[in-house]
């Protein structure tokens, strides 16, 4: 229906961010892979199903569409642990 560059410029309001984003944002949000809401948000704009099938392997699709959701608090704890590791790394004296 449209070429890739035009598609990338299409805009939708991101319910997570609270602002307008281009399609290019949604298809690269998770470390270069699409946001897990990409179908929910874009299905009415163009045939996102066909786009995904064309551009990604089934294993990739499973991974980005179905990230294992965690409780908010558990997510925070994961981030705290990661942050502690980052802080330790920064504070490590030079060898």
């Amino acid at each position: 229906m449209t070429n890739e560059k035009e598609l990338d410029k299409q805009v939708l309001r991101c319910p997570r961010l609270g602002g307008e984003v281009p399609f290019s944002y949604c298809r690269t949000l998770q470390n270069g892979m699409p946001c897990d809401r990409i179908i929910i948000c874009w299905e009415l704009v163009f045939d996102i199903g066909a786009y995904i099938q064309e551009h990604y392997k089934p294993s990739e699709i499973q991974k980005f569409l179905h990230p294992k959701p965690k409780d908010k608090m558990v997510t925070l704890l994961d981030i705290i642990e990661q942050a502690k590791r980052n802080v330790k790394k920064v504070k490590k004296p030079p060898e």
Binding site: G18, G19, L44, L65, T75, V90
Partner: protein, 458 residues
């Protein structure tokens, strides 16, 4: 002239927040620590939250006192007016009486400072010198910046880079209130530097921004982190909205048949609805509707109708339609059927049948927002438009049924800093593609054989 605004004086402001955890039909199970498998304890959260807020997070006390200094700051705009939407009623030619709680009066223009002020205060008395946070388009960041200014606490905000570049006004609001705002990913943290090393042009994400804000809090004992949605203490602080609304409706001798709020992170919805949910738990006949965005009609028409992804953070907020751990839906046409693994207060109330979820797609929400602006005069935030769209649906239904329903909703914020969204709507950039009926049927057929969640059927 008819009374349009129902007002309370400062003396009539609620002196306590309502904690619904005390009245939950099904008490929440504590989340488990990913490392130990044991329930998360206060010490696990201590690196980022002050103990007084952690105590609120796990409290099951029904009423929690609002400290006087918090009330003093809230009184800058509270009690917020309850407004009868006569013009909207007239435009819809409905017998329904529509009321809205106008939370757009706060200095940052939304409900968010209700918890930002409380969190800044509790941090202040706990000795915190600096609070960090992340923000998407800047609503939460600006609310916390305002609150920090009121209590003399330094605020540092990581704003997702794509918004930082596109949305200068919220950033300028933060700066005006004295906060520091970084585009995320930034070079200020190890988390940000790692991402930038890999991809210097990344637009950022909320996930990265939260990592930066948490890292900054963990790095310094005088620094804590604040979150504007999802957590129990945030919901608690917002209940002042519903508690005020109850007093105001009592003044005019009305009581809602339907309570409506938009549910992103859940906090504005919880704030209005929890005091009424309490009434429902104890026998009142009220419909309480949480509205969430979707653009897919299979969500609203399908047997597993709603996807309540956490619109603020990385994890889903409202896990209402659990299909089981071992179920992996087909990748295409099943976006709304994902397994959701957690049960915070709002989602548990959905599971218990106290709250009814509803999904509305974006064109209908903007249409509703424009109707509201052209009748009641207020340009609502795009998120708030979801609630307005549901109000209009219910008001039309009341007309069809010839019933004088009382509808209450939360006008959670104005959209004056979100006019780009209206521009996108007016210029046709948000045009919907009408999914063919056959395609919808095909999609619904595909999910027919799937196991039905025990609690999803009404």
């Amino acid at each position: 002239m008819e009374v349009k605004k129902i007002l309370l004086t400062e003396d009539e402001m609620p002196r306590q927040w309502y904690n619904i955890a005390a009245d939950m039909p099904t008490p929440l199970q504590p989340p488990l620590h990913p490392g130990t498998g044991q329930p998360i304890g206060p010490e696990d959260l201590a690196p980022i939250f002050p103990m007084n807020l952690i105590e609120q997070e796990v409290s099951t006390e029904r009423w929690i006192d609002i400290p006087e200094p918090v009330l003093e700051v809230l009184s800058i705009w509270r009690p917020a007016p309850l407004v009868r939407a006569y013009a909207l009623e007239k435009a819809l030619d409905t017998p329904a009486r529509i009321y809205y709680k106008n939370e757009s009066y706060s200095p940052p223009g939304s409900h968010k400072p209700n918890t930002a002020v409380a969190q800044a205060y509790f941090n202040k008395i706990a000795g915190t010198k600096r609070i960090t946070t992340e923000t998407g388009a800047g609503q939460w960041g600006s609310a916390l910046s305002f609150a920090g200014a009121m209590f003399g606490i330094e605020i540092v905000v990581w704003m997702v880079k794509i918004s930082y570049q596109q949305k200068p006004y919220r950033r300028l609001m933060m700066n005006t209130w004295g906060a520091t705002c970084y585009a995320s990913p930034s070079t200020q943290t190890e988390a940000g530097r790692k991402i930038l090393e890999k991809d210097p042009d990344t637009p950022g994400s909320l996930g990265i921004a939260i990592s930066e804000a948490v890292e900054a809090a963990v790095s310094d004992e005088n620094t804590k982190y604040a979150l504007g949605s999802v957590l129990n203490h945030v919901m608690l602080h917002q209940t002042i909205i519903g508690l005020e609304a109850q007093k105001q409706l009592e003044k005019v001798g009305d009581y809602p048949d339907i309570v409506i709020g938009c549910a992103g992170g859940g906090s504005n919805f919880a704030g209005l609805s929890f005091p009424f949910a309490r009434d429902k738990i104890f026998g009142k006949d009220i419909k309480i509707i949480a509205v969430e965005p979707t653009s897919c009609p299979t969500m609203t028409r399908g047997p597993f109708a709603y996807d309540f992804g956490d619109t603020v953070q990385m994890t889903p907020l409202l896990p209402m339609h659990t299909l089981g751990h071992d179920f992996i839906p087909a990748p295409i046409h099943a976006g709304g059927l994902r397994y959701h693994g957690m049960a915070p207060l709002v989602s548990q109330l959905v599971l218990d049948g106290i709250i009814e979820p509803r999904a509305i797609h974006q064109l209908e929400t903007f249409e509703a927002g424009v109707t509201f602006a052209r009748t009641e005069g207020i340009i609502a935030a795009p998120e708030t438009n979801h609630a307005i769209a549901a109000v209009i649906q219910e008001a039309k239904k009341a007309k069809e049924e010839g019933k004088e329903k009382v509808i209450l909703f939360n006008m959670s914020g104005h959209g004056l800093v979100d006019l780009a969204a209206y521009d996108a709507y007016f210029s046709g950039k948000l045009n919907d593609y009408e999914l063919p009926e056959a395609e919808i049927e095909r999609a619904l057929k595909a999910i027919e054989p799937l196991p039905k969640p025990k609690v999803a059927e009404k």
